[in-house]
Amino acid sequence: MIQLEIVDPVAATGLFGYAWLMIALPALGALVLLLFGRWVEKVGPYLAVATITGSFVIAVALFLQLLAAPPESRAVAAHLYTWFSTGSWQLDVGLLVDQLSILFALLITGVGGLIHVYSLGYMAHDARKRRFFGYLNLFVAAMLTLVLADNYLVLFVGWEGVGLASYLLIGFWQHKPSAAAAAKKAFVMNRVGDLGMVLAISAMLAQFGSSAFIDVNHGAATLTGPWVTAIGLLLLLGACGKSAQVPLQAWLLDAMEGPTPVSALIHAATMVTAGVYLVVRSHAIFDLSADARLAVVIVGTVTLLAGAWIGTSKDDIKKVLAGSTMSQIGYMMLAAGIGPAGYAFAIFHLLTHGAFKANMFLGAGSVMHGMNDDVDMRRYGGLAKYLPITFWTFAMGYLAIIGFPLTSGYFSKDHIIEAAFHESALVGTLALLGAGVTAFYMTRLMLMTFGGGKRWADGVHPHESPATMTVPLIVLAALSLVAGAAMNGWIQDWLEPAAGNHPHEVELLPTPIGWLTMLVVAAGVLVGWLVFGRKQIPAVAPQGNPLAVAGRNDLFGDAINDTLVVQPVLGLSRAAVATDAKALDGFVGVITTALGGLSVGGRKVQNGYVRSYALTMVLGVLVVGAVLILGLAA
């Protein structure tokens, strides 16, 4: 029996009593902007920035308090109110501010705040920008609810809230049918994952009588039979939906229809990482079930390769970054599935990825802003001179994601690859292969966008973006460089009570696996330069080998979903409609026809002929007579 180290939270005192303000401020902002918007039309966007800055300030204050506190009292539970209590059920709403959730809160409010500032510039000319900021605030409020919840039901409320905000924001340009379809697709595929979440929560309620983290953590060891694995797999299904992991990955690429700040915030830094948060938060369950962990590892490995594959063949800059996001979250899931050895690395990579991926998405938005909102990289080229700040900040993100030594991605990704090798040689090799492919397609992106000759369309005059867009880029680029080095020695010990991981020794010099990784990455960059850096990039995508065609078609994810799910469901509904029309309506029709026939027959009695009435009377008399005579005889 594995002995789980479970830390019980302490009650909230002092500043922690105001932790709920972190959620309330953006929620209030969303309320004002969406319901009373017409009065705050001009000042609306600034109000949104103000609320999220307020949340960030509170998050930083709480973080400093936790840093100063002794390690055993770093988990603080703030009980807010009782949601409902009926019979033997009592469900409370409360917040848990501990080492894991405060890091997420800092990420959400910090990177979110920068993206809000960026949106001031990016969405300046949009007529509905007040609504945009309202939805952004709504998203932040929901995401904070998700990470600060102290029980799975409140987490699920936040879970659904971010799904709603994602739908509203992907389909923000609602006049575009493609955007509306993409929003619907994202929401419906998330729903499949939500099914897993609901079943898992129901199982917890059935087994423990409560879905609070404390009760689940303490009770997990008492579960018998297949329950632990079942709950683990159901939670994994929920995580797959939210984090766009295989098999529920097809919505992420379509989600790029939304404005770029949305892609940066929701589909890079925060919402898609909610699945990883869920797995790490549920470490008590996963520690006890080797099968569920294996499933997580498999999902993570398959996704990291699938995302990398897709990223190599797309010409749309945002879709390359989306494939890259899918792949990096695959790395995080892989680390989370390894178990106690990998939880901290998953969160470490999550935080650094939040910085450099948001940086690159915002950079892509800056490039699009200068190129008349064109996303096709085949019409870019040679932009380094014209968009210098964008180029240099994007380059910082590029170095981070490929794992250039001493950037943030280097520290976080290397740890994951090493942990993968400790787990199994196959998984480690695949993770290493993924790192090489990542280097390849990111180099391709850089060369197609910023290097080489100009392939611009007519009338395009690339210009640098305004300060409100470039300042966040600079901040995020700085984070991409230093965040890794800053957290490397510290994060494992910090997260140990919350995530139950076992800290490893981290040395300054790379291990043999570290050297091997650097070699593979260098090889990837070299191959990318050889293929894309030497010759002129064609204006029209070449036919490509079967691998490229598969990648260009999102690995036929849509076709697979269509065959496996959509067509059977359509067939089922057609069968239901046919049954209703023929069988049920037919059955009712038989009854009505029979009754109609009876009426037609009955109507013949009343035909106005006196003689037939006379006959009826005589027959009646005979019947009465028979009854009387036979009755008397009997």
Partner: protein, 98 residues
């Protein structure tokens, strides 16, 4: 002994019933109704004779009075129908079927 009277009464009643059902002329149908009433009278009187009491004869008087009243009303209706339709056929009076 009484059997023969009763057989006669039954035969008269059946002839009257069939007459009502079959005959088209309203007056003849009416006559058949009278025949049925008379058959009933005969049965009543036969039973009164058989039981040596007057109950059956008194009942027979009532029937005769009712028959007379019915004839008055019925003939009045038939004559007024004949006046408007110029026909005594019961088949033609089928407006109730609409």
């Amino acid at each position: 002994m009484i059997d023969q009277y009763l057989y006669l009464a039954v035969i008269l009643f059946v002839i009257g019933a069939i007459g009502v059902m079959i005959r088209r002329n309203a007056l003849v149908a009416f006559m058949s109704v009278e025949l049925m009433l008379n058959a009933a009278n005969l049965a009543l009187v036969a039973f009164a004779w058989h039981h040596a009491s007057f109950d059956g004869q008194v009942a027979s008087f009532f029937v005769m009075v009712v028959a007379a009243a019915e004839v008055v009303v019925g003939l009045a209706i038939i004559v007024s129908i004949y006046k408007t339709r110029r026909s005594t056929s019961v088949d033609n009076a089928n407006l109730l079927s609409q």
